[in-house]
Symmetry: C2
Subunit: 438 residues, 2 copies
């Protein structure tokens, strides 16, 4: 009876602020980071579960400490029993009667649960010998519903309604899986649009995006309106009239600012406006959505849990739902969010980028296509060309699509060398930088 | 030019789970805890700033680590410059461009900011030689508005509207202060109603509460409806028809459950129902409020920040706003919340209990009475008779009222001996318990 025996955490940080990669109106100098977890068992198969929470630098130590606080909830558990009741495992973490005071279900502690849950799913997929999207897609509707905690959701989605959605999607699973393996899943790129890039780099990267087959790009906006109008004009000229341009304000505005700003950019063709205001402001997003229609509101990368997503859908606050693989409490909660989106008929276009978020989230969208919504219309996964080289199974983009992964697991596994060299503050990269500063 | 020189944190826990004090439908076995901070300066006056985040046990180490992550934001700062711009200091913590990823403005990291901000306010009041409520009450309307970050609030409350509220309340400040010093501030008690107490203890404590002059008590509910109906009936019989009975579900229900449960208890006279569902569920609270009116909905102890309070007010989700001194980012954010409540005409009845929450929050209600809402109608501060003996300036209750504190500071300061003995896991209390278990 194999048990979980080791629970090893790493504070891993990449000095991305040196190049202004990832710079936007709120995140001016991020050092992309991972509070990283490796789970080992005594099964003797050599398989490990890898997972992480993503942060942007300072505080990654706090995030790592929060994952450590879950050690006792995992080490010693029976592996087979845990993997055969992942819905129950999720609840054992989220509903710990003392830890929930630290949220409940939000922020550092909730992201820590996400890292643990995702690591267990990574192990589950490796043991099954399939990529995560395939493992999920082969579950029965009943098994999928068992993964979800419906607490606080039943006024919008009941277990029976979720079963109906999944049963309807059973027809055509095999055809969609074949299409997915053949074509991959549509992507859009944020690479051209970071706020710290100058105009020449913006235009060059826009041309490259079109040449690489992307049909949607995204620009960061929100620091200065005149700059944004100029950059939007340049981007539109560079990509032409048919490529979609989304803009992303990274929570910079109050409600009235958002409406004014989007109206000023609208003449250049805005496909969606992302994070116009606080991710907590359900009613504010709804007010913005009403004012700027038919331009879409998109949000989700900072939406803390399924209860807030439920309300964003109930209130008509968004037309594009951007779930994140490492913000909420892992795969199980994202399955709930996919089911909510399907119930409300809203397309899911996941947030990615950072470090490893592309590697993870592709599995969720692919599962959604095969087994939940059954659709890819107006659905695209964000793609950012950063830090993929640190992963054992990095994402591959071809003709503006994510190539469907086939390697077993959830894609979270970083190179061992990266974990050593980028460990903060003692890893080689950081000691070299500190030396350089002296 | 004095500077902040020391930033000392303590993981302090009280083994309250041994007596089932504080037990409710969601928090079955809390060990009341504080992630505690002492700030020292080189001013030579011997004054310290004390603050803390409250948790209920596991995870208090994570909370302490989060406070530690703010050390660099404080140590080395000019004390006078910091105290003369506490609005700016607040923003420097909340808008740290990397740390905000861990929230933003929620959970562990936000509570850590609350502990730091409150410690600085404690120092400010001690240096001014007055209790915090008096320090705040003597500020001009302009100075009060400068404490508040209006980001994400302006669709509900602008700085000008806040100024209007405060200027109107300037008339009568002196009279209200005199009344406050004479009469104190009304309290209600939760002591009788913990879910872990048997019927005999419930009835005895109800009688005691009435004898002590309380005009409102609160019962924990939500685990079992038949039990709750029996306990509600016993409590009503014990306190008589004129004492208000609030019930508190501690987030146990979905929307439909809440409505059904409250309807079953309504014949015994329910003054308010507290935390009927997820603290994140603004729309759910609004649906419950519409269904159970005129019974009031109360919430707030787990409401993560001013943006969520704004929406609870906008949506009509609550009729009683229960701010908490140690959940949001300290005094400044609670000033914003008091102003929002005043704008919407909703009474504030703070959450307290735990450890030290009564000591802190009384200052906020008293400031509200003197300088913001100017009213005490239907306003009561929660009182729970736990752990006050650990504080230098414990709250005093007389005739169902908080006696107005006169000692300089914010009331957060624990005895030095407590900080040593209850430190986790190495303090005497905990090593004795561990020995006892062997």
């Amino acid at each position: 009876m194999p048990r979980f025996t080791e629970f090893e955490t790493y504070d891993v940080r990449f000095p991305t602020s040196l190049d202004l990669d990832g710079s936007d109106a709120m995140n001016t100098d991020p050092d992309y980071s991972a509070a990283y977890l490796i789970l080992r068992t005594d099964a003797g198969d050599g398989l490990e579960g890898h997972g992480f929470a993503f942060t942007i630098g300072r505080g990654n130590d706090v995030q790592t400490a929060a994952i450590e606080a879950l050690r006792e909830h995992v080490v010693g558990l029976d592996v087979d029993a845990t993997l055969s009741d992942l819905g129950g495992f999720w609840k054992s973490l989220v509903h710990d009667s003392q830890l929930r005071w630290l949220g409940p279900e939000k922020g550092v502690m909730h992201m820590a649960i996400g890292a643990v849950v995702n690591a267990v799913w990574d192990l589950a997929a490796k043991r099954a010998g399939v990529p995560l999207w395939k493992l999920l897609s082969d579950l029965t509707p009943e098994q999928i519903v068992d993964l979800v905690d419906f607490r606080y959701l039943t006024d919008a989605l009941t277990p029976d309604e979720a079963l109906d959605i999944l049963r309807k999607a059973k027809a055509g699973r095999a055809e969609r899986e074949a299409l997915l393996r053949e074509r991959g899943y549509p992507a859009y790129t944020t690479t051209p649009g970071w706020l710290g890039y100058d105009d020449a780099k913006l235009v060059r990267l826009c041309h490259e995006a079109v040449a690489e087959g992307f049909t949607q790009i995204k620009l960061k906006v929100g620091a200065d309106l005149d700059d944004d109008i100029r950059r939007m004009r340049l981007a539109r000229e560079a990509v032409g009239p048919d490529v979609r341009i989304a803009v992303d304000a990274n929570q910079r505005w109050d409600v009235a600012d958002a409406i004014r700003w989007v109206e000023a950019l609208a003449p250049y063709g805005v496909w969606w406006v992302e994070e116009p205001t606080s991710p907590d402001d359900i009613l504010g997003h709804a007010a913005i959505a009403r004012a700027i229609a038919p331009i879409r509101v998109a949000t989700g990368e900072h939406v803390q849990n399924r209860v807030v997503f439920k309300q964003l859908l109930q209130a008509g606050s968004l037309s594009v739902l951007q779930l994140d693989s490492a913000r909420v409490a892992g795969v199980n909660e994202n399955v709930a969010i996919l089911l909510l989106a399907a119930k409300f008929g809203v397309p899911v276009c996941p947030h990615a980028g950072g470090v490893g978020l592309c590697e993870l989230v592709q599995h969720l969208s692919m599962f959604d296509y095969v087994a939940v919504s059954g659709a890819v219309d107006d659905r695209v996964i964000e793609y950012v060309d950063h830090l993929h080289e640190h992963f054992l199974d990095p994402v591959v983009i071809r003709d503006g699509h994510y190539v469907t992964p086939v390697r077993p697991g959830f894609g979270a596994e970083m190179d061992a060398e990266t974990l050593t060299d980028f460990r903060f503050p003692g890893g080689k990269i950081w000691t070299d930088l500190t030396e350089g500063k002296k």
